[in-house]
Symmetry: C2
Amino acid sequence: MNSFIFANPTKVYFGKDQLVHLGEEVSRFGKKVLLAYGGGSIKRIGLYDKVTAELAKAGMTVFELAGVEPNPHHTTVNNGAEICKREGIDVVLAVGGGSTIDACKAIAATARYEGTDSWDLVTGKASVKKTLPIVTVLTLAATGSEMDGGCVISNVEKNEKLGYFPPNAYPRVSFLDPTNTFTVSPYQTASGSADIMSHIFDMAYFGNSDEMDMLRRIQEEVLSTVVKFAPVAVKDGSNYEARANLMWAASWALNGFLYDGIVQDVVCHQMEHELSAFYDITHGHGLAILTPRWLAYVLNEETAPIIKRFGERVMGVDPTLGLMDGAKASIAALEKFLFETLGLKSRLSDLGIDDKNFAAMAKKACGAKGKIESFTTLTPADIEAIFRMCL
Amino acid sequence: MNSFIFANPTKVYFGKDQLVHLGEEVSRFGKKVLLAYGGGSIKRIGLYDKVTAELAKAGMTVFELAGVEPNPHHTTVNNGAEICKREGIDVVLAVGGGSTIDACKAIAATARYEGTDSWDLVTGKASVKKTLPIVTVLTLAATGSEMDGGCVISNVEKNEKLGYFPPNAYPRVSFLDPTNTFTVSPYQTASGSADIMSHIFDMAYFGNSDEMDMLRRIQEEVLSTVVKFAPVAVKDGSNYEARANLMWAASWALNGFLYDGIVQDVVCHQMEHELSAFYDITHGHGLAILTPRWLAYVLNEETAPIIKRFGERVMGVDPTLGLMDGAKASIAALEKFLFETLGLKSRLSDLGIDDKNFAAMAKKACGAKGKIESFTTLTPADIEAIFRMCL
């Protein structure tokens, strides 16, 4: 069993009507706030008005960065950082999903960088010692960015999507109000749910670590929470119980507790980042397409026990099946859940993706190491084969 | 479903050989440290030498408070606070179990109090705005004090044992090394395990809150972790896997995550505090004796479903039993676990306690409200009846 450090400094306000605390929390850091958001859905649901009203009550001066895109671009980050420097911003407020929050983390770092290009930081060419404080108001249960310290930024010119961990970039405060996710579409709800599951699969569950039994059991309960409530939220977007369970599950899938002490490559995320970098698809949907095919590809006598256990404990697969049959039934049950129950299209070709970039993407996914070590070791040829299984 | 705030600032170093980070962490807060510990077991297991060596390497000046007792006394707290004031202590280091850590929290508060009597703070007659920073090295999996903000202090002259929540008294850093619990006796291991379970029962599991499904499932897994590993640790104290699972389970049973959003009186803790206040018994053992009798007392058609569910999901009780039979079987399974598997004596009379103080204790347990509201509402007459069931 590995040693580890657990520390998560994010203060979470969870529930409806918690936004009344936004002003007091944001104003703790100063008077000038950069308010960042995406394509405008926060205006349609009335959240923009509520947020700006609370900020006004607290006497904050608000500067805005609108239009943060899904798979946020480093150029958008540069724009945000430029506002921070020019206006002397004290605190960055992300109102949106994981993309907006991720962009704000990179903005908060680039605002402290003497250069102007955030890509220098994301690629590790340069570094900063500090970041501006970040506060978030979450509108999508998916990435867990509201309670973790990392972000993923895309460079569309280079077809690159990279993870970046600025110093102290955990949000200081996050507001998780399930009602702010009521209008999330069935498609985005399904994709976000696949993302939550993939964090647990990729960070911890499907791996070779000698893991603490308690944590593996809890991973299974968080997975079961998604299996129970994602279909409810897909059908009935305003179901508070379903939205609340999914929202808190998303945060806990990636806040450190479920996987501290386990160090492994996140194989489906590595593969999916290439898909998003080349084709700008919805991250969670890419993960949904990849995960069962990856499991089928790596299935063997050694990997079968945990795949079988997943099916029994999370998907309701018959525990009396033999080892390989049970593992295969687990993968089939996961496919059925993602592609029938949640209604996600099951093939890359459904998203207009063909095989022309597979070789290049597989090589990039394996990075400088030339392989991904997780559960089983995968070479670029393996990754390319998995991409082909998804066509 | 209630709204809540989750925030837990404690940084945890978990695992063997993490103590090398002690010096760097303690010295972040200054140069003068008060090292508090209990009856000397930390010297027998070599931990005292390791801790003082790390502190010396970091250039710390060490002042000592030895002999912190189980159910720590307010007079001991006063002594510790006096040292802090006299020597200008920067940081308080607790090396021990929950009692030592609890004492240090009250010391850290009283050190900032212009008066000299910690009981003023514990009883709410006076308050402080700040506390000295606290670091802990844990030696017993039980109270969860290493990752929460409260403490329980006893006034032996008054037969009173009260909870106290100083401002910002969460340990800044806690070192959880399972090997430091290898020499904990079977009796203390069993009592500590009962304490862990009771935190989950009392704070959240047996209650009427409209709770998040994910949290209830996770509570069951943490309970199952104790049921699985406490017997292993009782039999084989040096089993790292068992000690590690119990240690992390103890912290998570009381760090806020499992019960945030649920507000209820902690009924068995209220009753047990009176037992410890009058008879100075081991806290976890008192809880073990009380819990199944309390469940039997409150069992009715309304409370039965969750009691039955506990038995099925945690204790392996036959799920095909009817409602009341299943609930009774759950309570019987819990009794068997505590009193046979873990070997704890099952009756207050085994601890030399008779009924002469029951009426006074029952009245005190109900406090100013005159009742305990949790699961069912209990009056002093009810509490006295439960005490009698434990004789």
